[in-house]
Symmetry: C2
Subunit: 397 residues, 2 copies
């Protein structure tokens, strides 16, 4: 199989230097990554195997990372990482779903056998797949080591994207735009929700200009905003077979992914003639996003970007929302955020060129809401949009 | 929104009784479930919010479970569970991705405030999203409690399906069959892999007979089996834009899902005239599956089913593989197995009518392999197939 690696060796070398420098500053000899995005970012490893324990190890004195995982996934590691076979370590199959033993018993043995049993070791205590049981087995097997939380060390190292990564982010943006356009072409009163979603999945994978898309880290969300009863919205519900009504407000959130780099986008759609107040709210949101993206330049802090958005809302008498964006890039299910910088009050992270964010500008009022989000790259001239889809309340009659 | 609950209140009442009985036997007062499938099975809760901490609590003396999660997901909990608002507890938004605080600080406070601070508490140490950090915060906040691993208590309670659940499993099987048929219609030499996958996603969501499908817990896998170099296969790689070659062996693994109940299926396809030895191997596999399914009746153990399969292989001079199946049912990403009974040597779980398994009959020889899997329900007359797709090496010229 001719596997297409999206990056050359220089890119991985740069990432390793960056990671080791952060390890040194934080006082770590060894980094154990279980976050699939961190594993991929460090080595190129790509496969749907994160539902079993696996990890990438970076040791300060080792030239290359070590991949540790299920024996049957070792071949995928060889193909996707290009690491030498000596740096690919498979664990015994019977340890899968074993009531007493655990793959990380063998990981601990590996670490001890390399002479790192008393090392200062970073683990990712809050990575989705680093379960309490993984940690318990590792702790027990490494009783002489000093295990501490990495504090999302590698996630933070991923924050500023290289030019090669930005190329993929822009391709993801084009896939996302094309997908949203296809969804908008399908949405109409009477169409069952799942028919729209089927189009979305098809478009996400077909991609654009011969560049195919990957599965995205969240399922597409098409959410009719409820205007009956208590009248609040419900994010994160998935689709049903309800036909779209004649007169309703819909929020659609999707992403495009290219080699697992994600560009997410939200648009608000009104079926039938929209009430004036929703048109007005959407205009305010678009104005707020424009102002924030204009502000998003190197040297400005995350909270300053949020403040600009907030000012536009306040000037229009709208109450604020706490977090209006988060960093994006390479990711795997179930989340496409990087879990690092947020555009919210108190986040003093200074923007640098090449950081990417999803400006998730949802505003929920008492009986209705709207969101017109934008994924963007920080540049010297402000936030560069990754997607190009109509920035307005989209009316479908 | 008219949310379609797939089950009535009696079904949830039955599940709660079953869970409490197992809690009693295991010596637990309180069960904390974070596994999304366990949360859904106990309450009906459904949403793509498992990337943030959340849980369902079952206390021995409480009539109904308690949902605990992010405040913005509380509405989805109300809609999907039908629990009274007093049993829906949202946590503070600033605790999301907080460097010091954690949502489970508030979960611990909730448990203490209910008078359960010294209870015998079951936690799911190996559930995908129960991270080491979740556990650390819960342990710290519940210093008087006795926390122990549940041993997949609720997963085991899910093993035997009710008639209503079996109805959904059969619908999932029909969706899976239709999806595989559409993939087979698309597969041909020269077609880029991703075009096949786009069809698969579309078919998975469109469903059959007006019954739409859900996202599945694993992405579809289309894997050209490598016959060059060391000649081994690589499960879990995802698709590329490589066109399918003129003469090659392909393994395709997909699922259909209905209200998150999964029926997975694997088929092996040869493009061009297949070598005789692969045709022969596939025949042996199909014979082995037939024999095993014939054996899979109430009272027989998991390892006995595996042994029957193994005998067919051995009689044909083929070396065995350790695990040949696992229980299936309701699930969420990233895995569709229930993490309980396995069809493998040493598993003495006794089959009961209504258990469901994926008989994953892959055989990997030195330079090639094949798999013709079947999801099935245990019945008095043997394993009832959930899918109906040609059981043979599928040749596409």
């Amino acid at each position: 199989m001719n596997y297409h690696r999206p990056f050359g060796p220089d890119e991985y070398a740069r990432r390793l230097v960056e990671t080791k420098s952060r390890m040194d500053a934080a006082g770590f000899d060894l980094m154990i990554c279980q976050d699939p995005a961190n594993m991929a970012w460090l080595t190129g490893f790509d496969g749907w195997s994160f539902y079993v324990p696996q990890a990438v190890l970076v040791h300060a004195w080792e030239e290359r990372p070590i991949w540790f995982g299920r024996a049957q996934d070792a071949k995928a590691a060889l193909i996707t990482t290009g690491l030498p076979a000596s740096n690919i370590v498979g664990y015994s199959e019977p340890l899968i779903h074993h009531p007493v033993g655990h793959p990380f018993d063998e990981l601990a043995e590996l670490i001890v056998s390399r002479g790192w049993g008393a090392a200062r070791i970073a683990v990712e205590l809050d990575a989705h797949y680093y379960t309490a049981r993984c940690h318990a087995h590792l702790t027990r097997g490494l009783s002489d080591a000093k295990l501490r939380d990495s504090g999302e060390l590698v996630n933070w190292a991923r924050l500023v994207k290289s030019d090669a990564e930005l190329g993929l982010m822009r391709e993801a943006g084009r896939i996302c735009s094309a997908t949203m356009d296809r969804a908008l072409a399908k949405i109409a009163p009477g169409v069952p929700q799942y028919e729209v979603i089927a189009e979305v999945y098809h478009a996400q994978v077909m991609g654009v200009e011969g560049k195919f898309g990957d599965y995205t880290s969240l399922c597409p969300s098409l959410c009719p905003l409820i205007q009956v009863g208590e009248g609040t919205s419900t994010p994160h519900l998935t689709w049903t077979d309800e036909p779209l009504p004649d007169n309703t407000l819909i929020m659609m959130e999707i992403a495009g992914a290219r080699h697992h780099y994600h560009a997410p986008l939200t648009r608000t759609i009104h079926l039938g003639k929209p009430p004036g107040k929703i048109v007005e709210l959407t205009k305010v949101i678009v104005e707020g996003v424009d102002a924030a993206l204009e502000k998003a330049r190197p040297g400005v802090s995350c909270e300053e970007v949020e403040a600009v958005w907030q000012q536009v809302l306040n000037r229009n008498g709208i109450k604020k929302e706490s977090r209006v964006g988060y960093s994006i890039g390479l990711n795997y299910p179930p989340d496409w955020g990087e879990r690092t910088a947020s555009l919210r009050p108190g986040d003093k992270t200074e923007l640098q060129a090449g950081m990417c964010f999803h400006f998730q500008s949802g505003v929920w009022l008492e009986a209705y809401g709207a969101a017109v989000s934008e994924p963007f790259v920080v540049t010297q001239s402000g936030g560069e949009r990754l997607c190009d889809v109509r920035r307005e309340l989209i009316v479908i009659d």
